[in-house]
Symmetry: C2
């Protein structure tokens, strides 16, 4: 099958899919859709994904699909050679991974994307006004989600979610999400993650299990982080203070 | 397999699961968890679902699962006799249904639950202050989601989502979600749904495909609606005016 990935490496679900394909030897063409340039709103891209979001995929020039979890499930099922642990065929094991993936939407993802966009990317890179209420609400959701990962999803012995000994698509999706917090002010980032020792170890384990691709596809995130450090050091923004206040 | 469903019929994903089981001849024991009485926060229920939400299931007294989409996928896969159209085994068809289900979380569900809870259930039944900003934001998400269903998910010829001739778990989940809008002020409810002819027809088709169970499990919702009409008619609330303003 001929696979095209429509992605922006600055988007966390895009990175999850890129890493998944590389780790599993799935050949693809990377079509870069730069969100910062509004390329997701072009008429051409609307033909690929009418919801105007990344990631999306196209298979053999015909079949189109969006929503990153649906894409990960599809890739794990449709391409030969993907190890079973990524998305187990056994119904009970698969159901538990689906439960994590579904939980993610209204919890960790909602918190992270809301906090990063409203508190950092919007005001510092896009030029939107700082939305304090949206930032505070997203932070509340994030700070309620991380202890659930620490004390429930990682409660069993294995290094990965649900006590598994090898990673699943849920590990990849959630870890890429938390990585997005790297663009926050460094002090805030540390404050948010410091209480969660298991979360930090699990992130390291997921990174190690998917190297060298994990670092390869996160390089642009760290470039963005450097850019934001420079913008913040100019001291011409209200973001750091307000986020410190709400953290 | 011995199946227990932990549900509140006033919760839309609970109803989707109840209807799904009945339509597909899956035997179950219904354990009622009344959200209005805080039963989802009891220590006993935390053992079933640590996230303290309904629905959740227990299989053979051992396997526990929460998140309604994960439950629907599991029931369709693990119980014999469920027709393939509910959650097709073929990977391309299944991927499209997964795409709808994943899209639902951050769009239709987020809009509906936010609007119904913050604008109606919270202030009128739970005694919370009316949260105007949260209500307006949720309504915005809902009003952006409905045209996507009308013009994209229902764009093809069949009566169900994705142009299918028979319903899937996505139809059931999304229609039960929109049904929750019944508890809004009647005028507002009509204003919200009136522009979407295909959506209204699809809701009727989904109801007809799942009778008599659709009506059986929605009866409590219509009882709640009657109760809210009485509360509103006392004229001692600000909800109607504010929702009218934002609609």
């Amino acid at each position: 099958m001929k696979l095209k990935l429509f992605v922006d490496r600055l988007s966390q679900p895009s990175r999850a899919i890129l890493i998944f394909c590389k780790v599993n030897g799935i050949d693809f063409e990377e079509v870069k859709i730069y969100l910062s340039q509004g390329q997701h709103s072009s008429p051409e891209y609307k033909e690929i994904n009418p919801m105007q979001q990344v990631p999306a995929i196209e298979v053999d020039g015909k079949f189109k699909l969006f929503e990153s979890h649906a894409i990960l499930r599809f890739l794990a099922s449709a391409f030969p050679g993907v190890a079973d642990h990524w998305y187990p065929a056994e119904v009970f094991k698969r159901a538990e991974i689906d439960s994590v993936l579904d939980w993610h939407h209204s919890n960790l993802r909602r918190g992270t994307t809301g906090l990063v966009f409203n508190g950092t990317i919007g005001p510092l890179l896009v030029g939107l006004p700082l939305n304090l209420q949206a930032t505070a609400e997203a932070e509340k959701v994030l700070l309620a989600s991380l202890p659930k990962i620490e004390s429930f999803w990682l409660k069993d012995d294995g290094p990965f979610l649900l006590g598994n000994s090898e990673p699943s698509i849920a590990d990849l999706s959630l870890v890429c999400e938390i990585m997005q917090l790297e663009v926050l002010d460094e002090k805030i980032h540390k404050q948010i993650l410091e209480p969660y020792e298991k979360v930090r170890k699990w992130m390291d384990d997921t990174r190690n299990a998917t190297q060298p691709y994990f670092d390869e596809f996160h390089a642009v995130l760290f470039q963005a982080k450097e850019k934001l450090i420079k913008i913040r050091s100019r001291g011409d923004n209200a973001e750091t203070k307000s986020t410190e206040k709400s953290a």
